[in-house]
């Protein structure tokens, strides 16, 4: 099938492509022509009039929870992938805290099978230790061979310094990155950020220093073992500063931040809305400011959602008993464009780096190219579209978003990958 994306702006900063008001011809999902199109090209083609829209290398979210196997009522690999496509992503990496955990080649293969033939490429992240229990190293060589792109015990930090050291030494042999959820176990267990708001609300507090301590431990062990650590969902001022300093020292430390951590603060918890409960929790305005600074100066390499679906029944209970986590795939780009692009914190180039180039670089996944003959792997952005989030329209099986009804500027209007196109809520084979 022939598809024409007409009057678009092609933008691929890693390839130095910045072409305004041009067109692209796709044939059977591959890029066959760029620029001026002839009558012959247009003949029998399905033409999408996309004046002023930006076509960028498909966005990639390196931190999602798809709940399969185990909680298919909340999300499956398919529903999560649909959510990603609708949100503007052509690739995701899914975390291993499923039931059972992704700690064997069988489960990696199962997830890959579920994801097969979808527009969205799903890359499993395997557990760093068996069952994420922090006792026994997972079979990392075998997991890597099966297709795991990283290891992590996300949900918790790798339990002890001694086991983390072994994980780093071992994963280094096979070039597997280690992703850490940084939270000191002995300080964990609170329901919200510790501060004046937790005092006011009487909720069990979770201090920011719990994150800082583990970030510090991880940086030092990365240095000691000569390997790398990627800090997931960074949320505190001190953690950002430590990562910045580690980078200045030339250490192999990377980090990601979620839209909720650069948009919201713990002041909002007065409502006891359980859709504002996640781990790490919402922090203070000072933390948010430092995260934005970190995104700006490159300390924070990526934006990732930590998409964490939960059923309504699970979220509709007492705040301190409700599970942590919110979904994010379908609001991530809107929030990034509203809060970072339109507020002039990041340009489009930096946004493409944080959402497409860097996550793939960290996980050793090839970056889509705009060369002729390549598979079209695109996210198409309308930077100025003003829209209202409507959770009932989400493709995710779960609706636990604190951003429902929020007005946003900028949206992904289409994704293309693997010979498929997602446009106006529908998946088309092209």
């Amino acid at each position: 099938m022939k598809v024409i994306l007409k009057d678009i702006n092609l933008f691929h900063p890693a390839q130095n492509i910045d072409e305004k008001n041009t067109s692209v011809l796709l044939e059977d999902g591959k890029i066959s022509k760029r620029g001026e199109l002839s009558k012959d090209d247009i003949k029998d083609a399905k033409v999408f009039e996309l004046k002023g829209k930006y076509v960028v290398p498909g966005f990639f979210d390196m931190h999602v929870h798809f709940r399969e196997p185990g909680r298919e009522d909340e999300e499956t690999v398919i529903s999560g992938s649909n959510s990603a496509a609708n949100g503007g992503f052509t690739g995701v990496a899914c975390m291993p805290n499923t039931e059972p955990a992704i700690d064997s080649a069988e489960i990696i293969n199962f997830i890959k099978k579920q994801a097969k033939n979808h527009l969205v490429d799903v890359y499993p992240i395997a557990a760093a230790t068996v069952g994420r229990k922090g006792k026994v190293l997972s079979p990392m060589a075998e997991l890597g061979d099966a297709g795991a792109v990283a290891v992590s015990d996300d949900g918790v930090a790798i339990k002890s310094a001694s086991i983390l050291r072994r994980v780093l030494e071992y994963s280094k042999m096979y070039n597997i990155p280690v992703i850490e959820h940084c939270e000191d176990e002995s300080l964990a267990g609170g329901a919200m950020n510790e501060g004046v708001n937790s005092t006011l609300l009487g909720l069990p507090p979770l201090p920011s220093v719990a994150e800082d301590l583990t970030v510090n431990r991880d940086i030092l062990l990365a240095e000691y073992t000569g390997w790398k650590v990627h800090i997931a969902h960074i949320s505190t001022k001190n953690a950002v500063r430590m990562v910045r300093e580690a980078k200045q020292r030339g250490l192999n430390i990377t980090a990601e931040a979620t839209p909720h951590h650069f948009t919201l603060t713990d002041d909002l918890l007065k409502s006891y809305n359980t859709n504002l409960k996640m781990n790490p929790p919402l922090r203070t305005g000072k933390d948010v400011a430092e995260i934005i600074e970190g995104l700006k100066d490159g300390t924070i390499d990526c934006i990732a959602s930590d998409h964490a679906p939960h059923s309504i029944e699970e979220k509709e209970q007492e705040f301190q008993n409700a599970p942590n986590g919110i979904i994010g795939l379908e609001t991530e780009i809107g929030l990034t464009l509203s809060e970072l692009y339109h507020k002039k914190i990041l340009g489009l180039k930096e946004i493409v780096e944080r959402l497409s180039v860097n996550p793939r670089k960290i996980l050793n996944i090839p970056l889509p190219k705009f060369d002729l003959g390549e598979t079209a792997n695109f996210t198409i952005l309308d930077l100025d579209l003003i829209w209202t989030v409507d959770a009932t329209q989400f493709k995710s099986k779960s609706k636990n978003s604190p951003f429902d009804k929020r007005l946003l500027t900028g949206k992904s209007i289409s994704t293309i990958n693997n010979g498929k196109m997602f446009f106006e809520g529908e998946m088309i084979t092209i």
Partner: protein, 306 residues
């Protein structure tokens, strides 16, 4: 004059006028309670549910008595006699109770924010009888009533709350209410028992009990929860008693005209020495009758709004 809110979820944000109205109304009911016939027909035909997810005999009995004296119909729903144990969610429970056409719910729950949640899923007036370590407004109103009764006023008084502030719902309600009424509020206890950044609420933090005695007109001494005794919060009961316990000797050394409020029963020799507990006219033990009167006032004011 009615209260400006349909619910009593806490004392945060409750106006001076409303607090005065509750305390003045409580005074009227206090007089009713001295009469031979202690019952008034004010809430006849109203149904009140006492929803206690956490055992608290004293608070529950106080509410039940207040409801009876106001002639309300009451339904008691305690955790042991309900389906909560069978995993029924809070929401289902409320839906089921609401089918009974209730006017008010008095709720005690171990999770902060639960009373606020109830206001969203049910039409009745909600009264918070203690939610986690958040608020316990009627207990704080009772403390304020007792202080006002004895000292004649609240405005301008220097009041220090002593004990485990971090794990007390009464402390926070007292802080909000007393500051609204114009008192100068301090808290005193080991640093491990003071919640973080409480000073930002306008509260002075003290770690020296002698200083607390010297600087204040009134001490509101919380009960040390013995089950929380030694370990991570403080080294030992003996050390707590030595460094934070109120003894006759301490009172004499510092100043003698201070008043001490305690909710009872006192852990003798821990937060207050036996000598002070028994001998002193400086101590105000919270009167059960005052508690009933304050709760009658709250129920009456909320139950008779349209």
């Amino acid at each position: 004059m009615p209260l400006s809110n349909k619910h009593l979820l806490g004392l945060q944000g409750v106006s001076k006028e409303d607090i005065n109205l509750i305390l003045d109304t409580a005074k009227t009911f206090r007089e009713v309670l001295e009469r031979p016939i202690k019952k008034v027909p004010t809430l006849q035909g109203k149904t009140i549910v006492n929803l206690f997810y956490e055992s608290s005999t004293r608070t529950r009995i106080s509410f039940e008595l207040a409801e009876k004296r106001l002639s309300a119909d009451t339904v008691n729903f305690a955790v042991s006699t309900s389906s909560v144990n069978k995993g029924e969610s809070l929401k289902d429970t409320i839906r089921n109770i609401e089918a009974m056409k209730i006017d008010m719910v008095v709720i005690r729950h171990s999770a902060a924010g639960t009373p606020l949640y109830l206001t969203k899923v049910c039409d009745a007036s909600i009264i918070n009888a203690g939610d986690g370590i958040h608020e316990h407004p009627t207990q704080a109103l009772l403390d304020m009533y007792s202080i006002r009764e004895r000292a004649g006023k609240l405005k301008g008084l220097k009041i220090c709350i002593v004990g485990d502030i971090a794990h007390s719902r009464v402390a926070l309600s007292n802080v909000f209410g007393l500051i609204t009424m114009g008192a100068k509020v301090s808290v005193c206890g080991p640093a491990t028992m003071i919640p973080r950044r409480i000073d930002e609420l306008g509260v002075n933090v003290i770690h020296d009990i002698d200083e607390a005695i010297q600087e204040n007109d009134i001490l509101n001494v919380l009960r040390i929860q013995l089950e929380r005794k030694a370990g991570a919060n403080f080294p030992s009961l003996r050390e707590y008693a030595t460094y934070f316990g109120i003894t006759q000797d301490r009172l004499e050394r510092n100043r003698k005209d201070i008043l001490i409020l305690h909710p009872g029963p006192i852990n003798r020799g821990i937060e207050i020495s036996s000598e002070v507990a028994d001998g002193s006219d400086q101590i105000i033990l919270t009167q059960v009758t005052n508690g009933v009167a304050v709760r009658m006032a709250v129920l009456y004011l909320l139950g008779t709004q349209n």
